[in-house]
Structures are given as C-alpha cells and as structure tokens.
Assembly symmetry: C2
C-alpha cells in the first residue's frame, strides 16, 4: 500500500555505532536555553533554573502499536514524539526536550532509520523541542521506539484535582484515529487479495491522518493560559474517553455524568462508523489515540470557554458516590466501565 | 542452567493495564525531595531548584544485550538500572530518578514481570533513586527494557575537558564482565549437550557477577568529591577501554599513551583468559560492560589519588597530533583502533 521510496539500501553495519548516531542526528539543532548539552556525552545536561519539570516515557512496539505495512516510517517517527508530547501538555507543561531510543532489526537499511529520524526531526521542529539523546541498537525481531519527553511547568495540573460540579471538557473531536485504523486495516486486507487495487481513500483523509499523523494539543496549553483558565484536572485521550474519565474520577474521588449527545464527532467519523456499522459513541468512548485533552474546569470558568470552537463541554463531575455514567440520547444512564488491556488480551 | 523458581504462572491478561502497573510498582517509595509526583499521572513532576540535571537513556534488548537462558530476570532488572546510573555518575552527577519501560511477550507470566521489577526495586534502594514512571506493554517477540535516568549535578564533567599531560585514570578492574560472559556462554553449550551436568562455577564467581550483576560507581563520585579532585574529563567503561579512550581523545582533541602493564586486571580475569587462551589486554581493551569510570586529572591532582586502591593511573594524555597508542609490556607502540558496532555486525 505504501510505496517503497527507499531504492537505496545501505546496510547498518556500514556505519560504526557512533558514526551511525552522528549521521542520524547531525541535523538536530538545540533551540532551548535549558539545554546546556545535548547528544554526545554520557548524558545530556539541562538547566531549568527555578522551574519544575515533567518527565514522561512511552514505548511504541511494532505489531502492537503500529503496522509497518501501512505506517510510513517517517510518520512513525513523528507519532512516537507526538504521543509523548501529548502527556507533557496534559500536565499543563511546555515540552522542551526528548530522548529517543530505537531498536531495529539489522535487516533494515540505514535509509529506513533516516526516515524515522526525519519524522522525529519534523516533530521536533514543529513542536519546538530539542532532541538531547538516545540510543540506537539492533533487535532480533521487530522495530521498537522508546521516547522520553521532558517539559517545564509553572503550574502543573494533575488528574486528581477535579471537584463535584466541575465541567468536563474535551478538545477537538474523538474516534477519528480508531476509524482511520479500521479503514487502513480493511485496505490492507484488500491489498493482500489484489495488490494492484488502487484504493480511493479520499473520503477518509481526515481520519487516516488522525491515525498516521496525530498531533498533540500544544496550542491548547497556550490557549488556556491566554483565556486565564486553569483546569482543575487534566489528562490526554490516548486510551479512549471512558478510560480517561475513569482516571480523572478515581484520582479526584468524584463521579461523572457524560452526555452522549455532547461528544464531539467529525462528520467523517460518523459516516465511516455508518459504513462499518459501528456505533460512533462506542468508538469515541473506547477508540483511543486521539491525543486530545480532557479536563475539568470550575463552573466559574464556563464563560471563558463557552464560545470557543476548540472546546466541547461533555458532562460534569458529581460526588463519587453517584458513580460514573453515560447519559444516552434516549436519556438512559449507563455505567462507564473499564476497558481491559487490549494489548495483553490479543 | 538457571532454575525456574516461578512455579506460579499468572497470565498478564488477568490484570488490566493499570492494575498491572499498580501491582508491579506498589512497593516503590519516593525518597527524594526533588520528586514532587512519581508514578500515576500523565507525567512525573520534579523540582531541582537551581541545580542542573542530567538525562540519559539506554535500551537492553533480549538476544542482543542479554540471554535469558543464563540471565535471571531479577538480575536483568537490576542491570538495566545500573547501566543507566553509570552514565549519570560519568557526568559527575548524583542519580535521583529513573523511568522504566518494558516490552514483554504475553507468553510471560505476571511472576516474570514481578522478578524484573524486584531487581529494579533492589537497584533503586541500593542506589537511592526514585522510580517515577514507565510503561509496560506487550511485544510480539523478545523482552526489551528501556530506562531513562535523571540526576542532579553541581559541576558536570564532560568527555571533552582533557588536556595534554593530564593523567588517565580508571577505577576498579577491567575485562571481568566479558570473561564472565564467555564462561556463561560455554556453560550454556555444555547444558545443551547434557542438561544434568552440574557446572562448577566457583572459580568464576567474581567475573560472572561482573556480567550478571554489575555495579555503577556511585562511590567514586563521592570519593572524588571527598578527595577534592575534579576530573577534567570522564566517561564510563561500557563498550571497552579502547573505545572510551577514543571518545575522550576525540572530544577533548588530545592524544594518549596507554600503558599495557598498568591496566588493572583481577586474578580471575587473568586465569580465565589463560584457560580460554585469550589475550587479557585485548579483553580489557574491547570487552566492555565493566561500568568502571575512566577519567583524566591534571598532574597536580596526582598526590590526591596516588595511594587510593580504587584508582589505577594507566596512561597520560598527549597532543592530538601524537595519536593514541598502547605502549606494550615489550615497549612497542600500537595504535588504539575503533571497534565496529558489534551489535550490527553479528
């Protein structure tokens, strides 16, 4: 499905270890004053003066988190960065540095690693972060990318600060990344049967991009500051809305009413759900990988966010004893339940 | 060879994702005032006030960096932490926090992850560091551990500060980890042929421990401070002495004379080298994984380190134009050469 543009295949063994890392990271520039020393020593050296810092780490594993038959390597590098930055923004922090470790089969040519690094570099430029270190090693099997992201924060926002009566707000729209994945999986099956088939992916552009090239909501952190809104709790939507709501409720010791008719869905998500005969609310609740921000604000802040198209108020928090419920369009109340760990149940 | 003590086998899928992480990390305690929030939110929150911080990351991959047929899982968890701390100490920093990400096959029972985490916890206690985050995910194939270590530093020491005439100093002794690996590989082959064979590993206790349970030289950072010695450059010996000397020389733009007869070798390394008919100097130069510290000091500091059994002065730095040489016992001068990236040349 993805055209192989890497006509050139330089074996990894052509470079020594340090030659390879130098080669791959030679374009990386340092832009933050907090980065005193980046790549090239036993460790990077950073200085944040009096600011607090946040640290988060995530692994992307081939065959579990991505499928190279439709995930271009450049997008993979980009996405590996973005999913980590999303966690930084979810703390109300500014992302400043990342380290990147890659385990890669020696079946891969140098050009494949160059593609991954090109995606990492693009993300670093767009999100204005310094790549300060990492490790590239061989693997006997699949490709794996581990990113650690660091940010600086003045007033961090935890998952645990929500209060009863706070409004529950989500950015953007939900379910797109999951439906994009469904389309890509379907096209992969079609391709297996008929490799000459040219799929028409135009009706799915937005949702495929949500899957292959997600963005982290850096803009929202700035917007909240400009609007003078400090969320009482915040989390990013990586596992699906229901899972994230449960985290906020459990850690804040509150309950929640979530209104089905308020969940923001893109028209492409709705039409693709109809095509696949999947319930769009289920997709929004359990799909994951949207990397939107879910947060709570006190009702006093409602006027500040009310008219802003970036935000949807989708529910409100209650006493913990009242539980967590989805209030459906038909006005029934359905308990919000945990999703298992899909990766281990495969 | 390693007895399987895990009679119990609880499938990973028995826990939800968050239940599993909670289960594995429930014993971890926070001891540093710089850790404001550890595991449990989108990111950890740290505060170092006016101190600079160092950040380093390393991947350990099954089949490349370790072999589960002789590496007990608890030791693996311990080693994954230690190799990262070693990089922190090599900056003259104090290690304070780590994040740990693990990709593991769902063939593994929960008890296997518990063993890995027990090793991580032991290292965290011994080295006094907080485990502040991480990620545990499934892998279709092998086991992989990615650790990011963070430390605080007042006066960092880079690889680049060595000057001509500085003395080259190494801690402890070299080549043990490599020879321990040779013994373990040999016993693995014997075991394949005769699983009932009980190997006598007594003559190899020290070198096997160097391979399976290496230590990072936290003590040296304190000792250097107590002795009021600030190295001009420093690196840890992870890839082998010759590779590390080349890093110091290249980044400091100096040359070096290394004296073969000064290289510290444990008697077990010498006797095992004889048994395997391997040259012990070659082992010390290229073996790697000793996690000793290699540093340079100005000659004025010689009296401070001279009598200390932790240190061996093994050479001195010269002008870059004079090159890097091993001065042999027979007084010949052999250029020190790069080792390729063994992992990619396999």
């Amino acid at each position: 499905m993805i055209e192989d543009k890497n006509q050139q295949r330089t074996p990894l063994s052509e470079f020594g270890e340090f030659g390879l890392i130098d080669h791959l990271t030679k374009n990386f520039e340092i832009s933050h004053s907090s980065t005193i020393k980046g790549i090239g020593d036993d460790a990077a050296v950073l200085s944040f003066e009096n600011k607090k810092i946040v640290v988060t780490t995530d692994l992307l594993v081939e065959g579990v988190h991505f499928d190279l038959s439709y995930m271009p390597l450049k997008h993979l590098g980009y996405k590996a960065v973005v999913v980590n930055l999303s966690d930084v923004y979810a703390m109300n922090a500014k992302a400043t540095q990342i380290t990147v470790s890659i385990a890669v089969s020696n079946r891969f040519p140098v050009e494949a690693l160059e593609d991954i690094y090109a995606g990492i570099e693009t993300a670093a430029k767009i999100y204005d972060i310094d790549v300060i270190g990492g490790d590239t090693t061989s693997s006997n099997t699949g490709l794996l990318i581990s990113v650690t992201a660091i940010g600086e924060v003045e007033e961090e926002v935890y998952r645990s600060g929500a209060n009863p009566k706070d409004l529950l707000v989500v950015t953007g729209d939900l379910g797109g990344a999951f439906m994009g994945l469904q389309v890509l999986e379907r096209e992969k099956e079609v391709y297996k049967v008929n490799p000459n088939n040219q799929p028409d992916l135009d009706p799915y552009t937005y949702i495929i991009e949500r899957q292959l090239k997600p963005e982290a909501r850096k803009d929202i952190i700035k917007l909240l500051k400009d609007l003078d809104v400090k969320p009482t709790s915040m989390i990013d939507v990586s596992d699906g809305l229901s899972s994230e709501i449960m985290h906020l409720c459990k850690q804040s010791n509150v309950g929640c009413d979530l209104y089905e008719d308020k969940i923001p869905l893109d028209p492409q998500v709705i039409s693709t759900c109809e095509e696949f005969d999947i319930d769009s609310t289920t997709v929004a609740l359990n799909g994951g990988e949207d990397y939107e921000l879910l947060f709570t604000v006190s009702q006093a802040d409602f006027p500040k966010i009310q008219a802003n198209p970036n935000f949807s108020v989708i529910g409100y928090m209650k006493e913990a004893s009242e539980g967590m419920h989805l209030v459906t369009r038909g006005d029934s109340r359905i308990p919000i339940k945990a999703q298992g760990w899909k990766n281990f149940n495969d």
